[in-house]
Amino acid sequence: MSGWVLFGVVAILIVCGLAVTAIAAFGLFKFRFALNRMHAAAMADTLGIMLILCGLIVATGLHFASLKLALIIVLLWCAGPVSSHLLAGFEVATSSKFKENCESDTDPGKDGKEE
C-alpha cells in the first residue's frame, strides 16, 4: 500500500515537472521577443528541474544519492537565474529594437510618456 502511495507521489512530481518543462519549451518557440522567450525558458530552469529532481529524491528515499540530488537543485537554482540575468542584461544592452518590443497597451511606462 505504502509503495503505491510513494509511486503516486513520485509520478505526480515527475509528471508535473515534465509538464512545466513542456510548457516552457512551447513558450520558447511561441514568443517572439528575446526577453519573453527567456521568461518562458526560466520556468524549465528552476521549477521544472526542481519538480523532477524532487520526484527522484522521493523515489530514491533517504540515501546519500538523494543528498547529492538536493545539492544539484541548490547549484542549479544558484547558477540558472544568474546566467539568465546576464543574458537579459546583454539583450537590453545590445538590442536595437528594445523600446519597440517592450511597449505594451496597458502600461506605457516611462519610455512611452517621453515620446
Partner: protein, 319 residues
C-alpha cells in the same frame, strides 16, 4: 570581556569575513544603461557620417515586366528549395532509422562488444592496476599511451590558439574590451559562494578518479570552469592575483613534463616485465593504485590550464 586585537584587520577571520561580505563597495549605478547610451551615441555618429555619402538612387533600368519575371523565378526556386529540404531530411532520417534496426538489442549478451576483452578488463583491472573505477585503470594504464597523446593534443591546441590570438604585451588590455571592470553585482555575489565549492568539487573528482566516476579530464574541466567563473565575475586582474601567466606556464609545462616522465617509467617497466617500485596499495584506499593518482592530478592541471587559456585568449588576447 573580549578585546579586539590590534592587528585584527590583518587576521584570517577578518579577511575571511571581508571576502564573504564583499570587500569593495557597490557601484553607484547599474552599468547596463550607460553601456546602452554609449551604443546609441555610436549609432548616431554612424548615421551622421553616412549622410554625407548618400547618393540619390538611380532610375531603375529594368522594366517592370522583366523584373517580375526574375522575381517569379526566385519565388519558384524558394518553393522548390523548401520542398527539397524537407524531402532530404525525411530521406536521411528514414535511412538512419532503417540502419538502427540492424543494431544488436541494448544489453544483449551476444552483441559483438561483449567479447573477451571486456571480460578480461572487468576481471583483472582491480588486481593489475589497483583501481576500483575500471575506466580510469583502462585509460591510464592499459591505454596509457593513448591518453599521453591526448594530453599532448591539448598542449598543442593551446599553442596553436596562442599563435593566432596572443597579443603583444603593450597592446594587451588589463581587462576584456567593452567590459565593465568588476562585472555584475549579482554575478559577483553568487560567484563568491560558488567558486570555492566548484574548486573543492573539482579536486574531489580529481583525487577520487581511481575510486569513483571521474578522473583527470573531468576534474580538470570542473576546475577550469571555476577559474573561468572567477575571472568572469571579478575581472581578469583578480584572477591574475593567484593565476597569472608565469604560474600558468609553470603549471602547464611542469605537469606535462612530469606526466611524460611518469609514463616513460610506466612503459619501460611494462615493456621489460619489471615490477614497478610504486606499490599498488590496498584496493579502495585513497592512496593506492600506484602512479594513477599522481597522473590523474597532473592531467587535471593540464586540462584546467587549457580551458582557462582558451577562455582568456579569446576574451582579451593573453593570459
Amino acid at each position: 570581556m573580549s578585546r579586539i586585537r590590534s592587528n585584527y584587520e590583518k587576521s584570517f577571520r577578518a579577511r575571511f569575513l571581508r571576502y564573504i561580505m564583499g570587500e569593495d563597495e557597490l557601484p553607484e549605478k547599474d552599468y547596463m544603461p550607460d553601456f546602452r547610451k554609449q551604443i546609441d551615441i555610436e549609432k548616431e555618429e554612424d548615421e551622421k557620417a553616412t549622410e554625407h555619402y548618400l547618393v540619390p538612387p538611380l532610375e531603375d533600368p529594368m522594366s517592370d515586366a522583366k523584373r517580375y519575371a526574375e522575381m517569379s523565378g526566385l519565388r519558384w526556386f524558394r518553393r522548390l528549395y523548401s520542398v527539397m529540404a524537407v524531402l532530404l531530411c525525411i530521406a536521411i532520417s528514414a535511412l538512419l532509422i532503417y540502419n538502427v534496426t540492424f543494431m544488436p538489442r541494448f544489453g544483449a549478451d551476444d552483441s559483438p562488444m561483449n567479447n573477451e576483452v571486456t571480460e578480461r578488463y572487468l576481471e583483472k583491472a582491480g588486481e593489475e592496476t589497483g583501481t576500483v573505477n575500471v575506466v580510469t585503470g583502462l585509460i591510464l594504464q592499459y591505454r596509457g599511451f593513448d591518453t599521453f597523446g591526448e594530453t599532448h593534443v591539448l598542449f598543442i591546441a593551446t599553442i596553436a590558439v596562442m599563435i593566432l590570438l596572443k597579443m603583444k604585451k603593450k597592446d594587451k588590455p588589463e581587462e576584456a574590451v567593452g567590459e565593465p571592470v568588476g562585472g555584475d553585482v549579482i554575478l559577483r555575489t553568487i560567484a563568491r559562494v560558488l567558486v570555492p565549492l566548484i574548486f573543492l568539487f573539482g579536486f574531489y573528482v580529481l583525487v577520487n578518479g581511481h575510486l569513483s566516476p571521474g578522473g583527470g579530464f573531468s576534474g580538470g574541466a570542473v576546475i577550469g570552469a571555476g577559474l573561468i567563473l572567477h575571472s568572469a565575475a571579478f575581472g581578469f586582474s583578480a584572477t591574475a592575483r593567484f593565476f597569472d601567466e608565469k604560474i600558468y606556464d609553470i603549471i602547464k609545462v611542469g605537469s606535462l613534463v612530469l606526466y611524460s616522465m611518469l609514463i616513460i617509467y610506466y612503459l619501460f617497466t611494462g615493456a621489460n616485465d619489471i615490477d614497478s617500485i610504486v606499490p599498488l596499495g590496498k584496493l579502495g584506499n585513497i592512496i593506492s593504485s600506484g602512479l594513477i593518482l599522481p597522473i590523474n592530478i597532473l592531467v587535471g592541471a593540464e586540462v584546467a590550464c587549457t580551458m582557462y587559456a582558451f577562455y582568456s585568449l579569446f576574451r582579451k588576447g593573453g593570459i
